[in-house]
Symmetry: C2
Subunit: 277 residues, 2 copies
């Protein structure tokens, strides 16, 4: 059996079954060495308690999900987002996370101006970047699938995310989630670009189901869909990133309804059969 050092479990994958403590215990029991929690899970457990938990178990934290959500209809809303992102940086530091993942936000409330939203994102990331650098917490922009452009993230391709990184400079990179980018005709080119600039900060995996029954909550387990996971992993390793593959599955009607231990065991089995090179 291959080692599990290359696997991380994003704890959203078992969010309906487990508290943070239960999820950590279940992962450790199965030999998993890395996790990625969400802020609401950490808040529910308590930040100090969560940090103690990962330290006591010697877990790597491949990312904290999530900062971002910068666009807002008014200046007060945008300022509040910046404050909240600084708190997220503090939390990521307390957890010793590899990076803070940014889901940047969609259109401002009531707006149809996606170019304005994109400018608000660039401005927002720019406004927290010095704070992140001072705290040595890398920020990982996660380009989200274009079907989320309106309501979750107006950064929708690797190319676009990397253009923002180039504009803003150091301390910034991308989280490459196969679900969001597998379709991109420029994927190979942009993964190479990201790797050359040292900007690949995370690699998330799951699968694209055919048919997909819900835009948000119908992601598939690796191997159940159509994404060529090994082809993308190969691109990422060739580009110089060898960090864990982090399984992140939102699945209201399937995986969130199964016992958490079964889900984690399946993640391990599928990581071995579908993801490892």
């Amino acid at each position: 059996m291959s080692s599990l050092d290359g696997l991380s479990i994003n704890l959203a994958t078992v969010r309906e079954q487990f508290t943070l403590a239960q999820a950590v215990d279940a992962c450790v029991r199965e030999g998993i060495r890395a996790v990625s929690p969400w802020r609401d899970q950490v808040a529910a457990a308590g930040l100090k308690e969560a940090a103690a938990m990962v330290r006591a178990n010697g877990l790597r934290v491949t990312g904290l999900c999530r900062g971002g959500m910068f666009p807002a209809a008014d200046a007060a809303g945008r300022a509040a987002a910046i404050d909240d992102n600084k708190r997220a940086i503090d939390e990521a530091c307390a957890l010793g996370a590899d990076c803070l993942v940014l889901v940047v936000g969609g259109l401002a409330q009531g707006s149809k101006d996606i170019m304005a939203a994109r400018q608000m994102v660039t401005d927002g990331v720019g406004a927290i970047l010095d704070y992140a650098r001072t705290n040595r917490m890398p920020l990982a922009i996660e380009p989200l699938h274009p079907m989320y452009a309106a309501d979750r993230a107006c950064i929708n391709t690797m190319e676009q995310a990397l253009d923002v990184c180039d504009e803003l400079g150091d301390g910034l990179g991308v989280a490459v989630d196969v679900y969001h980018v597998w379709w991109d005709p420029k994927l190979a080119q942009q993964i190479a670009r990201a790797g050359a600039a040292g900007r690949i900060l995370a690699h998330h995996v799951c699968d694209w189901l055919v048919p997909t029954r819900d835009l948000l909550l119908d992601r598939g387990m690796m191997g159940d869909g159509v994404i060529d996971l090994r082809r993308i992993r190969r691109m990422i390793e060739v580009a110089g990133y060898n960090g864990p593959q982090e399984v992140e599955i939102f699945s209201a009607e399937n995986w969130w309804k199964r016992p958490g231990d079964e889900v984690i065991a399946t993640c391990i089995a599928r990581y071995r059969s579908e993801c490892v090179l």
Copy 2:
């Protein structure tokens, strides 16, 4: 009231309510001067009868939907697709259509190789292009939203479609459907590129709803969603395309359940309030 010369109705918009003859009658009654039928609607009416119908009413046919679907698991399947596309060209000619719209197809059955699918598309379009040129029927590649990459079309951005056009040459262009491309950070750039090359062959409109409840059948009426329709129309006109805006709405739970006359009247009202520059 502005003229309706700039409006076309894609007859999928009333496919659940009307036969082709009923749809044409309803459009003509409302003063509409252009339509775009689907092949199954034409087949049900009979090709000669359909052609006579549009001629008798002096209607412009802004496109025939649709050719494409080139990828297949074996050579026989790919050859069958090419034959079917040649028949579609014949039908488009019989109807005097402005173009044949190509929804190019997704992954071949059982395959995860999107690059192979894309090559099959380029090969397939290449294989029908001389026939289309001889018959003076422009082929309009329609880049589809990335959420359809697996099962409907593996050409997912304007840039990618235009790269195929550049590779294959004359007689080929794009159908710009706002639903598929509104999110694209390179939209303005690529519309300008398409216009400069004389490759904009059609402009389809509807709207992106928030939330979107179904990947295929929950498109919105213009004005009910978040797409900045006038901004995109402006780009298209500046790029040199002044043809009709064609309303194409797949809406199983809303517009397909309303009386067809109401739907067409609403298309006209929203065209005037949301689309005309």
